[in-house]
């Protein structure tokens, strides 16, 4: 079936089986590899991206549900040359190790900060439920608080 949506600001149409997970359309049809496959069962968060601003696990999200919607992936998180506050903070804190889980965590964090601009540790524990095998949670927590600061500073600058 034909599905149309916006991906990182660009209109897209794909012709795929309606139950194809969004993840595989993004990765293999549209060739954006930043969104990762970890489990395929909504259990790890590696495939997290935004659909109309909500963080969702794209491995378990059928393509038919994105008709007319706005999708943002890690490739579309930053605008132009400047990195998104979350990516900047991730760099400052040198968070990634293997890096495989990181796009999913950054997307989950970016969506959380849109709703909770200044999250407490409890907010972070509750909202960030992805899995990182390398154990980067300690730096991630610092980076999340830092991203909130960067975002606040950016908002007051503009």
């Amino acid at each position: 079936m034909k599905i149309s949506f916006t991906l990182n600001g660009t209109a897209q149409s794909v012709e795929v089986a309606e139950n194809t997970p969004l993840l595989w359309v993004v990765r293999d049809v549209l060739d954006l590899k930043g969104t990762k496959f970890g489990c395929g069962k909504a259990a790890c968060g590696a495939c997290t991206l935004h659909v109309d601003g909500e963080a969702i696990r794209s491995c378990s999200y059928p393509i038919k549900m994105v008709e007319g919607k706005n999708i943002t992936t890690i490739e579309g998180l930053s605008s132009g040359d400047s990195l998104h506050a979350v990516q900047q903070a991730w760099k400052e804190e040198i968070v990634p190790q293997c890096g495989y889980c990181q796009p999913g965590f950054m997307m989950a964090t970016a969506a959380m900060l849109d709703k909770i601009p200044n999250p407490t540790d409890e907010d972070i524990d509750k909202n960030i439920q992805n899995i990182c095998r390398c154990g980067t949670y300690y730096r991630m927590r610092k980076a999340i608080h830092r991203a909130a600061e960067i975002k606040a500073a950016e908002a007051s600058d503009s």
Binding site: T20, F37, Q87, I94, D125, R139
Partner: protein
């Protein structure tokens, strides 16, 4: 192309090779180091952590390429799986080459360039093995460039200086890129003196990871991300049952399913190639496979097999008369400990993209064993090894999971069958069921205290599934030769050598499924047993547990390094024995591959919930080439260790390994990670040592020891649960 080999004199055994190629600048390579017989390699590798780079002397590999744009490409023989090796190597090269680190690009060496490590990336050996050779190689390269610059500029080499890739003197200057242009005759000088440690700009400094940018923008750097024009997707049928053998398959239902390109039946497997991943998976699920299953294994079978006394024993450490003293029942303290079967659970599933064209094959893959993967693919396809090019990608986690790469073979077979590139990878259930697990263990500890509260004799019996034996890394079956599996007993010997009588025995058990390397091999389980028992003994002896350990450490280099980390950790954490309310500290220490580590966990217990609030860690890895990445490895080990010792457990149910998904296979998440991790780095020797695994040792015992202080309950089984 010109080749120029020059024999080195004196202490250096390195042979250098230089090749020039138009347009790509100079390639400096080397093949070096004498061959080690396997036994020595294995013992030093695993026990002491002395790990020379095992270069293949016959075929020197390419290390550097200088581009006309004056950038240096460093081809790394070691793969990057998160441990920061590429960053460390770039630091080392930048310092001796005299070029800014930003101008160095690190790439994975491909198997055709021959610079790949013939052994593996793993065992915490990458930086320590390459620190000396890469400094020498880089310094030699710098001198070669300088000498050639002297010729080109008409200025004496002695009056030239090198800074950030530019060679200048006598009022003239030339870049590395300009120097290499058109040169075909390189002279290799003797290895020049290396800089003093204090003069390094990058080595020893917390430089940001070289792959940081790619990893925050989601660049397609992993094996799973590899893609080629016209690529198809492969999927291979696998049994859920342990020990199942493929007999045959009825593929009728799958043949006409949407997207199916071809069903491929081999003597040992059946697979499908389709246009998309989903279509390949759907068709695979429609294939009816006949398996031969000899036994329906249960968890109970495994537990019974793993008991001390059931396997084959080998004494791995013996001093004094521990056995005789501990045979006498009187006054003997004894305890049993257990650790479960553990999965690697790395986030990127194993897979490969293969493209077979006639007699040649190219494979993109996340592998820790490039050479082994190459040989296996060549064997299966019946083509020459040098016709198989393995292109290693970044690994979405390694931890020992990528020492076996069957997907490379299967992707290659499928690609050959359809004449197109084929990508083939495990789904998560297959990943869990086909893991090469951390084996379960059973430990029997015995000791006797003397009247003054010191340990007179101690014994550790550990029974474990295999770790090294049966691994693709070991080319021949060494089990008869070595007796005990050196991986299984890693961490199982006593580091308290001042105990007059000590003895350790390793019992070897062959389990019906693959068990192998898992970050630190046996260290996590063995340290859990020994350090929990040391805590029990300190309580029996009515001694402070930190002092109790110090009292049993010998006065030699290893002993002093261990004492120093123990003291530094206790001081940094403000060590206090005993609980305050529902909160307490727990202490544990280990030595792995010559790197001593001490940890103090601050834990609370609420109901039966254990929470780790803070971990203080002191470690002495020798020179920390990149202290920030050493810290990152410590943090990662602590969190992975919390995960493994508090939550993770595989079991066997109705002949199958379970669970098969995250969640039921519970792992540490954000809420379980300590909010504070305080690290102290010491340097007790003037060379870099093991970093990536040693700090996972103490954490399980440190937590259990804290829980005992709060609840009075001694948790002797991982995952730690208060019943």
């Amino acid at each position: 192309m010109t080749e120029n080999n020059k024999k080195k004199k004196g202490s250096s055994r390195r042979k250098f090779l230089v090749r020039t190629a138009i347009g790509t600048g100079v390639l400096l390579g080397t093949g070096y180091l004498t061959r080690h017989i396997w036994r020595r390699t294995i013992f030093t590798e695993v026990d002491k952590g002395e790990s020379p780079y095992l270069g293949d002397a016959a075929t020197p590999g390419i290390w550097f390429e200088v581009t006309p744009e004056n950038e240096v490409i460093l081809y790394s023989p070691k793969v990057e799986m998160g441990q920061g090796t590429h960053t460390g190597l770039a630091q080392i090269a930048a310092d001796e080459l005299e070029i800014d680190i930003e101008k160095i690009t690190v790439r994975h060496a491909e198997s055709v360039s021959t610079n790949v490590d013939p052994f593996a990336t793993g065992g915490s050996t990458s930086i320590m093995g390459l620190f000396q050779p890469l400094r020498e190689l880089s310094a030699t390269m710098r001198e070669m460039l300088k000498n050639k610059a002297a010729e080109k500029l008409g200025v004496a080499a002695t009056s030239l200086a090198v800074a950030n890739g530019v060679i200048s003197g006598g009022g003239k200057s030339i870049t590395f890129g300009e120097v290499v242009d058109g040169v075909t005759d390189w002279e290799v000088p003797d290895v020049p003196p290396l800089k003093a440690m204090k003069d390094y700009k990058y080595i020893g400094k917390p430089v940001a990871r070289v792959d940081l940018h790619d990893k925050v923008v989601g660049a397609p750097i992993f094996g799973m991300d590899a893609s080629l024009p016209g690529m198809l997707f492969g999927s291979v049928c696998r049994s859920e049952k342990i020990g199942a053998k493929y007999v045959g398959a009825d593929t009728t239902a799958a043949e006409n399913m949407p997207g199916v390109v071809k069903i491929v039946k081999e003597k040992d497997f059946v697979g499908v190639v389709a246009k998309s991943y989903q279509e390949a998976e759907n068709a695979k699920n429609a294939i009816e496979v006949e398996w031969k299953v000899e036994r329906n294994w249960t968890s109970q079978d495994i537990e019974e097999m793993i008991e001390v006394g059931k396997g084959k024993p080998v004494v791995i450490q013996k001093e004094g008369k521990a056995k005789r003293i501990l045979n006498n029942e009187e006054g003997i303290i004894s305890s049993e400990y257990k650790s479960p079967l553990g999965a690697h659970a790395q986030l990127e599933p194993n897979g490969a993209l293969a493209h077979v064209e006639g007699e040649k094959a190219t494979v993109y893959i996340s592998t820790q064993v490039v050479k082994i993967t190459q040989g296996e693919v060549a064997d299966r396809l019946g083509i020459a090894t040098e016709n198989v090019n393995i292109k290693p990608t970044f690994l979405g986690g390694g931890f020992g999971r990528r020492l076996h790469t069957p997907n490379a073979i299967q992707a290659a077979v499928l690609s050959k069958a359809v004449g197109k590139p084929v990508k083939c990878f495990f789904n998560r259930k297959e990943e869990f069921q086909n893991d090469t697990f951390r084996p379960p263990t059973h430990h029997l500890m015995k000791a006797k205290l003397s009247d003054d509260g010191k340990i007179e004799a101690i014994e550790h019996n550990v029974s474990s599934g295999d770790v090294m034996f049966g691994s693709a890394l070991i080319p021949v079956d060494l089990s008869g030769f070595l007796g005990a599996d050196v991986g299984a007993w890693r961490g199982g010997m006593f580091q308290y050598k001042a105990i007059p009588n000590h003895r350790a025995v390793s019992w070897r058990v062959k389990l019906p499924f693959a068990t192998s390397w898992w970050r630190s091999l046996g260290l996590l389980a063995n340290t859990f047993a020994i350090e929990s028992f040391m805590d029990e003994l300190s309580i029996s002896a009515k001694k402070d547990p930190v002092q109790f350990r110090l009292d049993h450490i010998q006065d030699d280099l290893a002993g002093n390094r261990l004492k120093n980390v123990i003291k530094a950790c206790a001081e940094k954490a403000g060590w206090k024995d005993g609980a305050e309310g529902n909160r307490a500290m727990g202490f544990a220490a280990s030595t792995d591959a010559s790197t001593p580590v001490a940890q103090i966990a601050e834990v609370s217990v609420e109901g039966n919930q254990i929470k780790v609030h803070k971990v203080t860690c002191a470690m002495d890895p020798g020179i920390s080439v990149n202290p920030d990445q050493v810290k990152a490895q410590i943090e990662g080990c602590i969190i992975m260790g919390i995960s493994a010792s508090m939550f993770e457990k595989m079991y066997v149910e109705d002949g199958s390994l379970a669970p098969t998904i995250y969640g039921p296979y519970q792992m540490a998440q954000m809420r379980h990670a300590p909010k504070e991790i305080d690290v102290v780095l010491l340097q007790g020797v003037d060379k870099p040592g093991a970093v990536g695994e040693p700090p996972i040792g103490p954490i399980g015992a440190a937590i259990a020891n804290a829980v005992f202080r709060i609840t009075g309950k001694r948790l002797r089984e991982m995952p730690l649960e208060i019943s």
